[in-house]
């Protein structure tokens, strides 16, 4: 069964080719090709996955060699796919969530004039993303890595008539490209260290050759990390993600929530050996995660655009994953990735449906009272929100996030500070989630409804909602039944989390986390629902209003980058538009021309001047002759 592996990425590619080359396809055909190709590969993934789990390959991984990309003096990257439990989880999430989102889009985008183009891009994206996670060679992974960047660019700027969409798309591409470039340098170093970019060989080589804390390991890890934070929108390269919400909602759900932005998490998990060889970098990963989740969480609190709230929330949740990776809780990070993919995709899709029925109104303050008017959307959204806010016991998000909180304290590399940051983050998360729900669904209605979504939108929502609630039960803490299906699977590839000696019972931490989460919800409920005036009162004061502006602008990162990089670059280029080197040559030309003009002055055409010249010349020569 597993030789079908190549079909998983090929199907979306074929879909892309059909959609890109075939003109004048009817909308039904387009939807059929677009949704069908991805759904088929989801189906194959499930079959292969079941097969993989029921009788795992002896080496723990299955690899399929397709062809040698090229072979130039020892550098011979191969086009080959590699399936182990880590990539299996990713492939499953990607294909499954994509299939649902494609189904959703087939209705959501039906009015759009570039229906085929949309699905072509989406299929291309799924293909690139699958290549990214299935690649056995880092170079091939880099192909997927850049490919998803391209698709993200195309899809953010999908509605290209609006200038700002294009700018947001450019910003996303360029910022991630900065990270990618650092990553490319990392690949160079790796190649010269090991003469190959074949991932298993690299990992084995790194564990044999490098000492823990070796400077070379540290450099490589830092460079790879740079690539990861670019793609995963972590500090300090996070600024592109909120702007990326200019794309259609399904795009935000698929690319900027569920899959592409977690590529950084995948990269770090995949190259975990190298990160373990560099404790400094690994700690840095945790710190970046912690800081990012706090900053982004605060920013989420201040937004009024529902999609921007979700965007900042995504940054913050990926911060959690980084934190988990940083403390060595590999399986917890991957678990949170999966759960997050479910509930964040759900939230984006539901938000998209809300926005659609509210006549493209993004502002939450202009929504309200939608609870009774679109109950299905409300309940599914609520399910996702519960998971995001990590409502104790009933939501999947609780189990995954609790695991991270627990490891942030108790893992060997965890510290109290990281735990505290994560805890405060949990409070903020609960707060902005509740705020979003109250503003959108409660209170009085402010905008009249458009037409309500149909089946193809609601079915994916319901499936995702069910998953957001129940997916957590495949991995339960030991004091609640101790189900470890997920970590058993993942730990075939990733090492187990090493714990500190002598930590107190997990239960206390769960309790604290639960209380914090609930109090966050209550606090927000109290402010927004019970005492609506209090926010305005706060805003009129100096400190909170500054804070609000700071948070709203995403901590002024954009402004700073603008002033530091964008403006100077633009100024320099516009000054030097005409190429000062060329001016040198032009100056040379002008000098010659001037010389010519001066000399040609002497040719006045007046005969008497010439005669005078002759006379003067002879006199001078004669005088010289006599004198010397």
């Amino acid at each position: 069964m597993q030789h079908l592996l190549w079909l998983i990425p090929t199907l979306p590619l074929a879909g892309f080719l059909i959609l890109a080359l075939g003109r004048y396809l009817s909308r039904t055909t387009v939807a059929l090709v677009g949704v069908g190709s991805v759904s088929l590969s989801a189906l194959i993934t499930i079959i292969i996955g079941v097969n993989f789990i029921s009788n795992p390959p002896p080496s723990g991984a299955y690899s399929q060699f397709l062809w040698t990309w090229f072979n130039a003096s020892g550098f011979a990257p191969k086009i080959s796919l590699y399936l182990d439990s880590l990539s299996l989880v990713f492939v499953f999430v990607i294909t499954f969530v994509s299939a649902l989102i494609h189904l959703y889009s087939s209705e959501f985008m039906i009015e759009d004039k570039s229906y085929a183009r949309f699905f072509a891009y989406m299929n291309l994206f799924v293909f690139s993303m699958l290549i990214l996670v299935l690649a056995e060679d880092l170079l091939l992974m880099y192909l997927g890595w850049e490919g998803v960047g391209l698709c993200s660019f195309l899809l953010i700027g999908f509605w290209y008539e609006k200038q700002e969409n294009g700018l947001a798309a450019q910003k996303a591409f360029i910022i991630t490209r900065i990270g990618d470039t650092a990553m490319a340098i990392g690949l160079f170093i790796l190649f010269y260290q090991f003469q190959t970019l074949h991932i298993p060989a690299l990992l084995q080589g790194a564990s044999n050759k490098w000492q823990i804390g070796a400077p070379i390991a540290c450099t490589v890890a830092l460079l790879l990390l740079a690539g990861g934070i670019g793609k995963s929108a972590q500090l300090p390269l996070q600024t592109w993600l909120p702007d990326a919400m200019a794309g259609p909602s399904p795009v935000s759900a698929l690319i900027h929530a569920a899959t592409m932005v977690t590529a950084g998490v995948y990269l770090i998990a995949r190259m975990h050996v190298i990160f373990e060889r560099s404790p400094f970098t690994q700690h840095l990963v945790a710190v970046i995660g912690a800081v990012t989740l706090l900053l982004a969480g605060c920013s989420a609190l201040a937004q009024f655009d529902i999609k921007r709230v979700l965007a900042y929330s995504t940054i913050s949740q990926i911060g959690y994953m980084f934190l988990a990776l940083g403390v060595g809780a590999w399986s917890a990070a991957i678990f949170h990735f999966m759960i997050h993919a479910f509930f964040k995709a759900l939230l984006f899709l539901a938000a998209g449906a809300v926005i659609e029925t509210q006549h493209h109104e993004h502002n939450m303050f202009k929504m309200g009272g939608l609870k009774d008017k679109m109950p299905l959307i409300f309940w599914t959204f609520l399910a996702g929100a519960m998971s995001l806010a990590a409502l104790p016991l009933v939501s999947a998000g609780f189990y995954s996030k609790d695991q991270i909180l627990w490891y942030a304290w108790s893992a060997e590399k965890g510290t109290a500070w990281l735990w505290l940051a994560a805890l405060i983050g949990a409070l903020i998360t609960a707060a902005y989630t509740t705020r979003m729900i109250i503003l959108t669904f409660f209170g009085e209605s402010k905008t009249p409804l458009g037409h309500l979504p149909g089946m193809r939108i609601t079915i994916p929502l319901v499936i995702l909602a069910v998953l957001s609630i129940t997916a957590g039960f495949i991995e339960l803490p030991h004091n609640f039944g101790q189900v470890t299906i997920f970590s058993d699977l993942v730990q075939k590839t990733l090492p187990e989390t090493r714990m500190q000696a002598g930590v107190e019972s997990e239960f206390a931490f769960q309790l604290i986390a639960a209380i914090i989460g609930l109090s966050g919800i209550y606090l927000t409920w109290w402010t927004y629902a019970k005492n609506p005036g209090i926010i305005d009162k706060l805003k009129s004061q100096a400190l909170p209003s500054t804070l609000h502006r700071l948070w709203f602008s995403g901590w002024f990162f954009d402004t700073i980058y603008n002033a530091l990089f964008v403006k100077p670059f633009k100024t320099i280029t516009s000054i030097n538009k005409n190429d000062f080197i060329d001016q040198i040559y032009t100056a040379l030309v002008q000098f010659t021309n001037t010389l010519n003009r001066i000399l040609s002055l002497s040719q006045s055409g007046s005969l008497r001047w010439y005669i005078m010249g002759i006379i003067m010349g002879s006199i001078i020569i004669l005088t010289l002759n006599i004198l010397l």
């Binding site: 062809w67 130039a72 003096s73 490919g147 290209y160 900065i178 160079f188 170093i189 190429d579």
Partner: protein, 507 residues
């Protein structure tokens, strides 16, 4: 084979006959070239010394000048590229050129003949002859069929390349006499001169003579300024030939002449050349960002990409050289495509100013899609040929000089910036013009499709090209290593844990 070569050259000298004959003759030659390639692809390129065809006629025996053409993998690939782009350039000037068609195609074919000759000549005198042959028709091409500012541009082009060409002539003569004095055998033949023993100082000056000629042609910072003018004023086919082929003669010259003839002297200035290359990469990219003229923009991207060639050629290792070869080819394809694109846009909009464009995707998704593909190719997106080339060059350069390679890598970010700006300004954004434009015609679709297929092919499976040039590259490697024996900074440790699968990959 010798007869085929003769037909090759004479077949192109079809003067004063319009486009059909031009197309047919070049197609015949292209077919010939392909046949040679395919028939040799099966043969091994590794045995003997890699020369596939050798054709020699005595020309002016008194001075040791002979009509000596020879072909190895390197020149074979270059010739194939020349003919491929030649076919396309004739196709793309099909409707663009209305005046004096006969003379136009005469010039175009002469240029192509000159370029093919440059790639094949192994007699230095003959080489110089072909070098000039391609120059003058190009001057006419720009001067007669160019746009508004054509006279200025053509003069600039001519003076730059001619002045540097004279330096090369001096160097050729110098080499001729020095070698003749040392051995008593006066000859312009490449193979005779290859083993010439030259005093280091002389070698340095001679090498500089050659190098400057090639570097101006390439062009590399700070000699690049003729390029944007020549490109923006030339007719479309002229730009295509200029960017796709004529620049490559510079690169070819470096690989074929500068390095093998003067390995020692080249090694000494390698770091400087790499530095210049890196400056070119960054500088070209920064300037490309600022341009508003579509063709100028593409021209500056050429400068940037040529910087990569410079960097790779002087990195002194096989990987980088393979990358250079690929870069030569893929840059020819991608830039050629961008120029054709610019030409067809100009035909429709009558402007090259990108500020006056915008939102063209809506009317012309075909143009938009190809524009996207080639803009992405020029910013090095994996899966397209340029990525592999640049990656290999950077990897090779990384081995030779880490700081420079890292700076060059920044060029990747800059290239993304200008490519996206190009896309945004031309195809995306709000529409600025009320008129709707027509999408590609069938002829243009054929041109673009063949280019697209070629660039994707080089991006996904470049192995045939790599195999073809392998022998030439490894010969070059020998010259290097003879020169750089002294220092080999990278530690090559035996690696035992390589998986076995690395070895048995398909060739």
């Amino acid at each position: 084979m010798a007869g085929g070569l003769l037909a090759w050259l004479s077949g192109k000298w079809e003067p004063y006959l319009p486009r059909t004959i031009a197309l047919i003759s070049i197609l015949i030659v292209f077919g010939l070239g392909l046949t040679i390639w395919i028939s040799h692809a099966s043969l091994s390129f590794y045995d003997n010394d890699g020369w596939i065809i050798d054709f020699k006629r005595i020309w002016i025996p008194d001075f040791g000048i002979s009509f000596h053409l020879a072909m190895d993998g390197l020149s074979l690939i270059m010739v194939i590229l020349t003919l491929f782009l030649g076919v396309l350039s004739i196709l793309c000037s099909w409707d663009e050129i209305q005046e004096r068609q006969g003379f136009y195609y005469f010039n175009l074919l002469w240029i192509l003949a000159g370029i093919v000759g440059v790639f094949l000549a192994t007699d230095l005198f003959l080489f110089y002859f072909f070098w000039e042959v391609m120059l003058i028709p190009m001057y006419l091409l720009i001067g007669i069929w160019g746009s508004e500012n054509r006279i200025y541009a053509s003069y600039k082009f001519f003076i730059f390349t001619q002045a540097s060409g004279l330096l090369m002539l001096l160097a050729i003569l110098g080499l001729y006499f020095i070698n003749g004095r040392n051995t008593g055998h006066y000859s312009f033949d490449y193979f005779d001169l290859l083993n010439a023993e030259i005093a280091p100082t002389d070698a340095k000056w001679l090498m500089l003579g050659f190098l400057i000629a090639f570097v101006v042609k390439l062009p590399v910072f700070p000699f690049h300024t003729w390029l944007p003018d020549a490109h923006s004023e030339a007719p479309t086919a002229g730009s295509v030939v200029l960017a796709g082929l004529m620049l490559k003669t510079g690169a070819y010259g470096i690989l074929r002449f500068v390095i093998p003839l003067f390995p020692q002297a080249t090694a000494e200035i390698a770091w400087l050349a790499m530095l210049i290359g890196v400056i070119g990469i960054i500088y070209g990219a920064v300037l490309a960002f600022a341009q508003t003229d579509l063709k100028r923009l593409v021209a500056y991207t050429s400068v940037s990409h040529m910087g990569f060639i410079m960097l790779g050629a002087f990195s002194f290792n096989e990987l980088a050289l393979q990358g250079v070869l690929l870069q030569i080819i893929t840059h020819g394809l991608s830039t050629g495509a961008l120029f054709i694109l610019a030409g067809s846009l100009k035909e429709r909009l009558h402007t090259r100013d990108i500020n006056k464009m915008g939102g063209l995707w809506a009317d012309a998704p075909g143009i938009g899609t190809t524009g996207l593909i080639f803009a992405m190719a020029s910013c090095g997106l994996p899966g397209l040929g340029n990525f592999i080339a640049e990656f290999m060059i950077l990897m090779g350069a990384f081995k030779a000089n880490i700081p420079l390679a890292v700076i060059a890598t920044i060029g990747l970010v800059l290239s993304a910036i200008y490519s996206l700006r190009l896309m945004q300004k031309v195809f995306l954004g709000p529409k600025t013009d009320e008129h709707s434009i027509k999408d590609f015609s069938l002829r243009e679709i054929i041109i673009m499709a063949s280019l697209t297929i070629a660039i994707i092919w080089t991006g996904v499976y470049p192995q045939p090209i790599i195999n073809t040039v392998n022998s030439s590259i490894s010969k070059l490697k020998e010259y290097y290593s003879s020169a750089v024996m002294i220092e080999e900074p990278i530690v090559k440790k035996e690696i035992k844990y390589l998986p076995k699968s690395i070895d048995n990959d398909g060739k």
